[in-house]
Symmetry: C2
Subunit: 339 residues, 2 copies
DNA sequence: TTGTACGCGTTATCAT
DNA sequence: ATGATAACGCGTACAA
């Protein structure tokens, strides 16, 4: 029952034909006797032949595999996008390999190295952004790639699909301002990350538009995988820093913030309004209702894949793809106003 | 800037040495002049050589890649396990490809076919369980595999790592009973799935132990990816089926149940107690505090990988691995009692 | 209609 | 210490 892998050679031996007659029969080529073909296909099926795409890939240089490199698949934001990418890729007969960088530069480098070594046809990467060098390395190797969700402002020849983070930051902040909050804690991500910088810019813009001063103490940077956000909220709330609302870099931070505030005996939204980013709840029916900025993860994922496939199929087109997907304000209870 | 892939041949030409000297120098073999090695490694680095593991794989028959096949990576339960597996695999220099079955038989078959075609060294799969045939197909191809989280009772030669679902079902139900609930809605998964059947058995056992009748109307099956759970809760709560507590197949169902109940104007835990399964909140700090059954996802993931690596490295050992990881009751507010 | 020969990039073996 | 050759499994071009 328990067998070894069947090769064309095995089938050739079994049928007394040559390897490549078998090969062509299985690929439904024309120049083969109908009877022979049926016979070979029957034997192949019976023997459980699966084929070895490796061998073909070595020849063609194509693997029909793409690498998806993200910070952490366990983060729902990435999990959703990875799922979307896998689904779209499957439609085009592509398979994905998933690599986590843990937002670390060396792990990112290693992930890229692995991907290239496995001869993936393309790479979709949410860069950790410690520097553009890792991405340049992809480029140097001639492997098509698309950045997902983050970009390098200085590198105009890196293609990307991002969401409109500036606008998202602006919308979230303006919403809180309109509800009467003037001291807004920005629970931001690390400033090396473009989306964090752009959300911050949106935040500042909203404040300036209303003539509200930007308080640097209320602008905090938090590691994405470290639990920093909880500590920040805890410390600032404990010392009574005066804020009445929180704009979080992502929904995970927002959840942590609310978790911590409640643990400290505060109420949301009564004592503190909280808004997140990513709108994870568009897919999950959580018992808790968190206002958030929607960034169309499906659209981003599918678009990134389309662009990548385009680049794979038209290697020399030289088209530049710098795409920004809209962001929208989604109001739920965590920022409900109390007139 | 934008280059082609560098091969050993390129380096050989650049250095005037033979392909195979270059190969050995890069692999730090002994029988090579120290100076030559340094030189070659220098040139390789400068040219950005990455190597083509495909070619090596063709020779060795090993890809250092394993396939992880799950229902849906966007489900946090799977997302967490995929992350854990990737991390553990990385330590052993393995890469993972991720395939979603969407709990569908044909997609599962296709996923397995793809995995085998790509010559993965092994497969970790959470089977959709429409039948054992797909798994038998893996076996027939001689590819090592481990079932994760589900098993086929009749197939003793399928290795698996599962959680103690019977006990989990028992613990959850007993807890609700101890809090005075006698009509407990079981928001279960599809009965083809072993974990659903085993949790049901635990549920029944707890009821019988207390002499509480099993009401078949309160035992419901719900598709894992379909939103059935919401509808079930809505319908049964609307017709006033008399239950006062819910034991959900997983945390996702539990969230949906609470979402729906609240939407209908009910309170949790005051009107309905709800307990889930998977204890997603061991990793995420959600604002909502859901009682759940913990099933040690890390332990399961890591163990599944260890077993798989064992099977890969000792192909003929013939060891059988049937492992059950403990489940524990985690109490939070969604089942808080009101004495 | 079918078979033979060669190449993809790498590595193991054997020769120099 | 280094080079030549064969082999992995398949596909393509060409020969029979």
């Amino acid at each position: 029952m328990d067998g070894k892998k069947i090769t064309l050679k095995d089938i050739a031996q079994a049928t007394g034909l040559s390897v490549n007659t078998v090969s062509r029969a299985l690929k439904d080529k024309e120049d083969i006797a109908e009877a022979t073909r049926k016979m070979i296909q029957g034997v192949a099926k019976e023997m459980g032949y699966v084929g070895n795409s490796l061998a073909g890939s070595l020849r063609s240089g194509l693997t029909r595999t793409i690498a998806v490199i993200v910070g952490d698949v366990a983060n729902p934001h990435f999990a959703i996008m990875v799922k979307d990418i896998e689904k779209a890729a499957r439609k085009h007969n592509y398979t994905i390999i998933v690599l986590n960088t843990e937002e670390d530069n060396e792990l990112e480098e290693r992930a890229i190295y692995t991907a290239i070594g496995k001869n993936v046809d393309g790479i979709i990467i949410c860069p950790a952004q410690h520097s553009p060098d890792n991405i340049r390395f992809i480029q140097r190797n001639g492997v098509p790639f698309v950045l997902l969700g983050r970009r390098f402002e200085g590198e105009t020849d890196f293609d990307y699909v991002i969401s409109d983070d500036f606008n998202g930051g602006y919308l979230a902040t303006r919403h809180l301002l309109e509800n009467g909050h003037e001291k807004i804690l920005l629970l931001n991500g690390p400033s090396r990350i473009s989306s964090a910088r752009e959300r911050l810019a949106g935040y500042k813009h909203a404040l300036k538009e209303r003539g509200i001063p930007v308080v640097s103490k209320l602008i905090t940077e938090n590691g994405v995988l470290t639990g920093d956000a909880r500590k920040t909220v805890k410390d600032l709330a404990a010392e009574d820093a005066g804020f009445t609302a929180i704009f979080a870099f992502n929904d995970v931070f927002a959840w942590e913030a609310i978790y911590m505030l409640r643990k400290m005996g505060h109420r949301v939204p009564e004592d503190y309004a909280v808004i997140g980013f990513d709108n994870i709840q568009s897919r999950n029916f959580f018992p808790f209702s968190l206002s958030s900025i929607s960034n169309s993860k499906s659209k981003m994922s599918r678009r990134a894949l389309d662009i990548l496939l385009n680049k794979i199929n038209n290697p020399k087109s030289g088209n530049r793809y710098h795409e920004t997907v809209e962001t929208r304000l989604i109001l739920r209870e965590s920022t409900r106003s109390h007139a």
